[in-house]
Symmetry: C2
Subunit: 235 residues, 2 copies
DNA sequence: ACAAAAGTGTTACACGTACACCCATGG
DNA sequence: CCATGGGTGTACGTGTAACACTTTTGT
């Protein structure tokens, strides 16, 4: 079969917006770019797509290179294609956002990339259009998490309801009523109560919970309305 | 500046999923492909991205070529990148979905492409991964329209509430209570009642309405909950 | 007069929200 | 024994769904 002629070829890349949560703040994993242009500047982890792989596969490969993690929650965000977004040559980049358990990451990190976690709210300037990608990812995360239980992806296996609430408060930059929050979450039947309590964060201690994985997967696309008045919070 | 070396270049394309509504059924605009491979088979309207244009610009150009319409509602759906999705050579394609007023289209259509409207439910086999694109577009449309008032984009300037209801019923393949529906829609304050009635579809006649464009744009991202129990309908 | 669709009124009820209050524990 | 955060009980109001019923008009 002959090739399509007369059309310019270009490079395809992927960039990963990697979110993590340390129990207090929402964080973003960035690397110090190791090659020109913009060498030594902060950047999303990314890379070019190989000849024989899909974008999804490339994104997973790149995430794995940096974090050593597989099976992580990741979804395609958008493809960015401004003709001059990369000054070296025409490159379109498909952004993926990933939610990882920050503690899992600590164990397996690859130090070759000089990666660091930054507070999402207080991140450095990023190269190219990466800041635009991060802003869009944040918007999408807010949008999605208002209705679907994806934020569990950011938490360890065992977590408390106050921890989960703190995460929601971080994401939406708001305060929630703890009494209503716990009831709402428990009413989804997604959580399984554990015997032990977490005593680090309060005197009384809060019970640990684990995700009911089966129910989680089954209800993933269900609408949960976890955020009061989402339209006022999602801008 | 030197080029990035050692990375394979590829072709970037866009494909447009174009939805229309004739008052009764949800339709899809397809073209008969004019070149090999798969010449004469049904396909989404698409094309390669030019050297100096973004994907968005390419999608708008391609939509304009076929329909003669500009300023149409369009959003990026997803980028499809299976290495062998196009048998000729490696091509990644970004799908956009567009909502157009089918009557506007009739006026300006470009006949060079042998385009035809098909019932979405009863469409022919499509080339490559185009069917997958359509299915995803349908899913996204359902998802979005359950909460945001985007379906107005499919209707003419003046329309009746029963028409609008019929559109929702088509999209979600369900029956809605007309009494509750009209109240819900009117409570959004998005509609402006006209003096005349449409007498074609009933003896009593239904009042025409127009969109309050200002309010529409302001409320676009608001959550409207127009579909009861969306989680049961959105699969 | 009747059928058929548009539209109004009314009601029951689920759900979200607010908040008083109780519980458990470390200092 | 008190301060602190975790968690339950309950009351109130809004919004949604269900449905009886009225309106309009072409045949």
């Amino acid at each position: 079969m002959t090739k399509y002629s007369g059309h310019k070829h270009l490079l395809a890349a992927v960039d990963c917006i990697i979110f993590g949560f340390d129990g207090y703040d929402l964080k973003l994993l960035l690397i110090k770019r190791g090659f020109d242009p913009e060498k030594h500047k902060w950047s999303l982890m990314g890379g070019f797509v190989n000849d024989d792989e899909s974008l999804e596969k490339a994104a997973n490969r790149i995430l794995y290179q940096l974090t050593g993690l597989e099976g992580v929650y990741m979804e395609q965000l958008q493809t960015f294609s401004d003709p001059i977004r990369d000054p070296v040559e025409r490159t379109i980049s498909t952004a993926y956002f990933a939610l990882i358990d920050i503690h899992q990451y600590e164990k397996r990190i690859n130090h070759d990339y000089n990666a660091e976690w930054f507070l999402l709210k207080d991140r450095p300037d990023l190269i190219f259009d990466h800041d635009q990608m991060v802003r869009l990812a944040q918007k999408r995360l807010r949008y999605k998490a208002a209705m679907h239980p994806i934020l569990f992806e950011l938490l360890p296996d065992k977590f408390t309801i106050p921890q989960l609430q703190c995460l929601y408060e971080e994401i939406y930059d708001t305060k929630l009523d703890n009494r209503n929050f716990s009831r709402k979450i428990l009413s989804t039947q997604l959580l399984v109560k554990q015997k032990e309590k977490d005593k680090f964060n309060s005197k009384k201690g809060a019970f640990y919970y684990k995700l009911n994985k089966r129910k989680y997967r089954a209800n993933f696309q269900a609408f949960l309305n976890l955020i009061p008045n989402p339209d006022k919070l999602l801008v």
